[in-house]
């Protein structure tokens, strides 16, 4: 059965990078010290190289090159450095992502788009950036990395159900394959020992309304950011736009249509400047 094969294949996913995991744990404590983060990161050369590459990208427009992690913290601020750590740690999982009719790198582009949008929304709604939300957004579609080939094999079957029954691609995926990419992402997050709120946000990123923890705002923000990128066609696959729109998201955050559209414009601008970030997996 495909289901068993999929569950078996997630066992082969490499461990989540220790550095990114440690940083996640550190920032979970509101009194974290940035020096602790620098200490954790500087011994991982591959991640350090990628962080510096991100920090020196046109996105930040620095005049002088940043050469050490402490430098980066000073010049860009800790939020940006933490985001770079997470992006550098997460990107490798998307390197060979196939499926959903997407060309190489497109799923990563989508993930970066959703991560950038999550921060824009968080700033607009709560007036803060949130590194944990950023990491969650980067990983929301991690289930697709594993599901991709299986979905491609069953695409016409899934698509037929979507168009005939008018249900979402997610539900049809579940019907045909036995599990959908969001639920599978949740399982991968468990395997990586992610905290419960992150795991839930990944598992329910298309249906935050079904979550038991009603206070998990991050799941709703990832949801909204994902819808925005899907609508704008960023890393849009052959699952298209066949996902559920939940007006509850709007009520919850008191967002006006205009706010949402303005955020979308900002995101496309950010994505344009984040080309280096996209380049780290090629």
């Amino acid at each position: 059965m495909i289901y068993d094969e999929i569950i078996r294949s997630i066992k082969n996913i490499p461990a989540f990078p220790a550095v990114a995991l440690k940083v996640m744990a550190l920032i979970d404590d509101p009194d974290y010290a940035i020096t602790d983060i620098v200490d954790v990161v500087k011994y991982d050369q591959a991640i350090t190289a990628n962080i510096l590459r991100i920090c020196n990208s046109a996105y930040f427009g620095l005049k002088y090159k940043v050469v050490t992690i402490s430098d980066a913290v000073m010049r860009l601020g800790q939020q940006n450095v933490i985001r770079a750590v997470e992006a550098a740690g997460v990107s490798k999982f998307y390197e060979k992502a196939k499926g959903y009719g997407l060309e190489a790198n497109k799923l990563w582009e989508h993930s970066v788009g959703v991560a950038l949008m999550s921060q824009i929304l968080s700033k607009r709604i709560f007036n803060r950036e949130d590194a944990k939300l950023y990491t969650t957004a980067l990983l929301h579609d991690i289930g697709k990395v594993v599901m991709g080939e299986f979905v491609d094999e069953s695409f016409m079957k899934i698509y037929d159900i979507v168009s005939r029954e008018g249900i979402s691609f997610l539900e049809a995926e579940g019907k045909v394959i036995g599990i959908d990419h969001a639920e599978l992402g949740g399982k991968i997050a468990s395997q990586w020992n992610f905290p419960a709120d992150m795991r839930e946000a990944i598992a329910y990123h298309h249906r935050p309304d079904l979550m038991t923890d009603g206070d998990n705002n991050n799941a709703w923000l990832v949801y909204l950011a994902d819808q925005a990128c899907i609508m704008m066609g960023i890393g849009l696959g052959n699952d298209g736009l066949a996902y559920k729109g939940l007006s509850e998201a709007i009520v919850r955050f008191k967002l006006r249509q205009k706010d949402f559209e303005e955020c979308i414009m900002m995101m496309l601008g950010d994505l344009e400047r984040a080309k280096e970030l996209l380049g780290i997996i090629s």
Partner: protein, 161 residues
């Protein structure tokens, strides 16, 4: 043949018969192609939102972002290459929406309404259209023939007529 890719909020026009203009991954955004078969001049616009009133400054910097500023610019750019309005063949694709329980996410629907209004007001007929629903589209126009091709995951490639 050389393929010229048009990104989001972008437009290109051409009178080089070797050119194919193409835009990928139209979700709620809309791709508009226009073509004058007499002078073999064509253009492709990929706009994202209906109305420039959302951000007039952005619209000034990049008119291709909005329907109401992008479409006039698309036509004017083709006129500069000798095209004439009365001969224009106009085709549109995109404007998909997610499965909605409210109007909030209907940027696709709003985009479709915006172009219909705009074309109606300016006496322009749409000669070929594949809009709405919830799937991902890619369109291209061949400058040599004016043929427009639409690609979707479930139907593959077909000519948009």
């Amino acid at each position: 043949m050389s393929e010229i890719v048009i990104g989001i909020s972008d437009l290109k026009v051409s009178n080089d018969i070797n050119d194919i203009l193409v835009t990928y991954a139209l979700g709620s955004c809309i791709g508009v192609t226009i073509y004058d078969p007499v002078v073999k001049v064509g253009g492709l616009l990929h706009f994202m939102l209906p109305e420039s009133s959302l951000d007039p400054q952005k619209a000034g910097e990049n008119p291709a972002m909005f329907a109401d500023t992008g479409i006039p610019l698309l036509f004017k750019s083709c006129y500069k290459l000798g095209a004439e309005k009365k001969r224009m063949i106009v085709k549109v694709a995109g404007g998909a929406s997610i499965l909605d329980d409210s109007n909030f996410f209907r940027i696709g629907q709003k985009n479709i309404t915006a172009i219909r209004k705009l074309f109606w007001k300016n006496n322009i007929l749409i000669d070929g259209e594949d809009t709405g629903s919830n799937y991902n589209r890619t369109i291209s126009i061949h400058i040599s023939t004016g043929k427009v091709f639409l690609k979707t995951a479930h139907n593959g490639m077909r000519e948009l007529v």
